[in-house]
């Protein structure tokens, strides 16, 4: 099939475009861009205000902003774990530090939303550069545990010795100022725009969301994507083909830290607050759950995982009686999904859509998954 075929191929009466053409289109950067823009534009409306749908989801606008921000965090975390296989249990350090840097900069230096978010991101990258020097010498569980330790170290540092700067558990306030001195972030729109995005704050966060998605897509499609995959599979082999493994892991670490930093900074702008709890280890754990639940190494996975996580926390939590057990229900769902689909919810969806094309294989696949058929072949044999 020629790739420059502008006309969609008609395969049969039930599909408008052929499966092959669709597979090609959905992997283009333009498609990812359009989908992420469409997602940002419709997410809040569908979740919280659309007729019928929102009655079922019971969502509200404020939660959508939070989900977008945490999605950025999960995407940043996933860039490290999903692409290079480095599991960090200390990503809260970037999230919380960026939050503090954003707040401190706004209080002591200059308060403008875009500037302080960039400052927050840069602070996370700077912290990432320091942490990487320690962490990238370590592997597997040691990497995860020391990352956790550094995060907790910063948590205690911020809550006690540096209380004079961070205000401890009281936290810091971030005053809301106009974007670039002109645009009021609290300005609410009317008409269609108002129905879709409500206010400028949502748009502000949404633009960052799309930018991060596009940046990650670019990385994945560039030779870096291939290098990261190679390093994830085997570092020794990667060095045999002339790749400086440390350097690329360092790059991935900084990128991941920077993206987590953007999320932390945006959260400070959104909540007008920066507190010590954002450095706490449970934040690191939450983001691991979100990424793994949604599907590691994919773009949609972390976003879906974040959505599900916050749906339980924000909506199921409010259900009468059942609500008290939201965390238990989330844990059960998490276990069930990861048990049957190690690739997470997104893996489940792609599996189902693939199976719908060939219904015969669906039953066999589900059966083998549940009964624990061999799924992924381990190839990490040591090059010794």
């Amino acid at each position: 099939m020629s790739t420059d075929n502008a006309q969609p191929d008609v395969e049969d009466e039930s599909s408008l475009i052929s499966v092959d053409a669709w597979d090609r289109i959905k992997h283009t950067e333009r498609f990812v861009f359009l989908i992420s823009v469409a997602f940002v534009l419709t997410f809040s409306y569908l979740f919280s205000r659309a007729p019928v749908i929102s009655d079922v989801t019971q969502g509200y606008h404020g939660l959508t902003v939070t989900i977008l921000i945490w999605s950025i965090f999960a995407l940043g975390f996933n860039l490290l774990l999903g692409q290079t296989g480095l599991l960090s249990f200390g990503h809260a350090m970037f999230f919380g530090t960026a939050s503090y840097a954003t707040a401190l900069f706004s209080i002591h230096v200059f308060n403008e939303p875009l500037t302080i978010v960039i400052v927050g991101m840069l602070s996370a990258i700077a912290l990432g550069a320091v942490a990487a020097v320690i962490l990238l010498r370590l592997h597997t569980v040691y990497f995860a545990i020391v990352a956790l330790a550094i995060g907790q170290f910063l948590y205690f540092l911020a809550s006690n010795p540096l209380e004079g700067i961070t205000q401890g558990i009281n936290g810091l306030e971030v005053d809301r100022t106009p974007l670039l001195g002109v645009v009021d972030l609290d300005h609410e729109y009317g008409g269609i725009l108002g129905a879709l995005v409500v206010d400028n704050l949502y748009l502000f966060v949404g633009v960052f969301f799309v930018a991060v998605v596009m940046f990650i897509t670019r990385i994945r499609k560039s030779p870096y994507g291939l290098i990261f995959k190679a390093i994830r599979e085997n570092e020794t082999r990667a060095s045999f083909v002339g790749l400086d493994v440390w350097r690329y892991k360092f790059a991935a670490f900084l990128l991941s830290a920077g993206i987590a930093g953007i999320a932390g900074a945006l959260l400070a702008v959104n909540t007008q607050f920066a507190g010590v709890e954002r450095l706490y280890w449970s934040i690191s754990g939450d983001v691991v759950v979100m990424a793994v639940l949604g599907g590691l190494g994919t773009l949609a996975g972390p976003v879906i995982g974040t959505f599900v996580w916050f749906y339980f926390k924000g909506i199921v939590n409010g259900f009468p009686t059942l609500g008290d057990y939201w965390l238990l229900m989330l844990a059960v769902s998490f276990t069930a999904v990861v048990w049957a689909y190690p690739e997470g919810i997104w893996g489940m969806i792609t599996d189902l859509t693939a199976a719908l094309r060939e219904p015969k294989t669906l039953a066999a696949k589900v059966k083998s998954r549940v009964t624990g058929g061999s799924s992924t072949e381990g190839s990490n044999g040591g090059d010794r």
Binding site: L226, A230, V241, R384
Partner: protein, 247 residues
């Protein structure tokens, strides 16, 4: 001056002293084989040359083209002209054949790496098309995941991938015919000969004495971490070396 010179190399894996003063020299354009049975230290020798850790080289030196490379990291050695085809066909099984071949040619410039959409634009010893001429079966399987290839095809890909490194002068092959069917062994051997005919220097580590002597000009015999015999192919064929080799 030899292209590669090992001078009294002592290599250790933690407390185990594996190489006990290995000295050897390979001239440009030669095909040299290093023979020895399991545990003799063949792979440790390869890893000592390739800069992979472990083992730790505690004394002695590895010189390449006059430069002391004993302490160089593996990736610098790979970019500096020594290509290693590791034991057991270590491929990136999740990447396709073509992606495996493109990895070696990625530019070291960060910004160019992000900007460039295509791969394989960097310099390399052999172009992909040339490699496909050498190994036609790889071309047929170019879009297939490397992990799905047969053993022989994986070995071909492993060799081909190494030939994609830039400015390659020396090719180290660690037991390339291990575990392959007899006719595939000959095919891989023929390919190695053809690579040598192009002027590349080859160090062939083998347990398969017959195949190694068919290809090589001369050879060394390694036993218990030390060179116990060296000579031309004829000398090796005539000498009774059963004590050191498992045939």
């Amino acid at each position: 001056m030899s292209l590669l010179e090992l001078d009294g190399v002592h290599a250790h894996y933690g407390p185990s002293h594996i190489l006990r003063g290995v000295s050897m020299a390979i001239d440009e354009g030669e095909v040299v084989t290093l023979l020895g049975r399991n545990g003799a230290g063949k792979t440790t020798t390869v890893r000592s040359i390739a800069g992979t850790e472990p083992p730790e080289v505690r004394s002695g030196s590895v010189r390449f083209d006059g430069t002391d490379i004993t302490d160089w990291p593996a990736d610098d050695i790979a970019m500096g002209g020594i290509g290693v085809v590791p034991e057991g066909r270590r491929l990136f099984t999740e990447l396709t054949v073509e992606e495996n071949l493109e990895l070696s040619t990625i530019t070291r410039n960060w910004w160019n790496t992000v900007r460039r959409r295509g791969l394989g634009g960097g310099e390399s010893t052999m172009a992909i098309d040339e490699l496909y001429d050498l190994f036609p079966r790889l071309e047929e399987r170019r879009a297939q995941q490397a992990g799905t290839l047969s053993g022989g095809e994986q070995q071909m890909l492993s060799i081909a991938r190494t030939l994609r490194l830039p400015d390659l002068d020396l090719l180290l092959l660690d037991e390339p015919t291990e575990g392959l069917a007899p006719q595939i062994v000959t095919a891989v051997g023929d390919a190695i000969e053809e690579i040598a005919d192009r002027g590349l220097t080859v160090l062939l580590i083998e347990q398969n004495v017959h195949e190694a002597l068919r290809i090589a000009d001369r050879g060394y015999v390694l036993d218990q971490g030390d060179i116990v015999y060296q000579g031309t192919t004829e000398e090796l064929e005539n000498e009774d070396l059963d004590e050191y080799l498992v045939v």
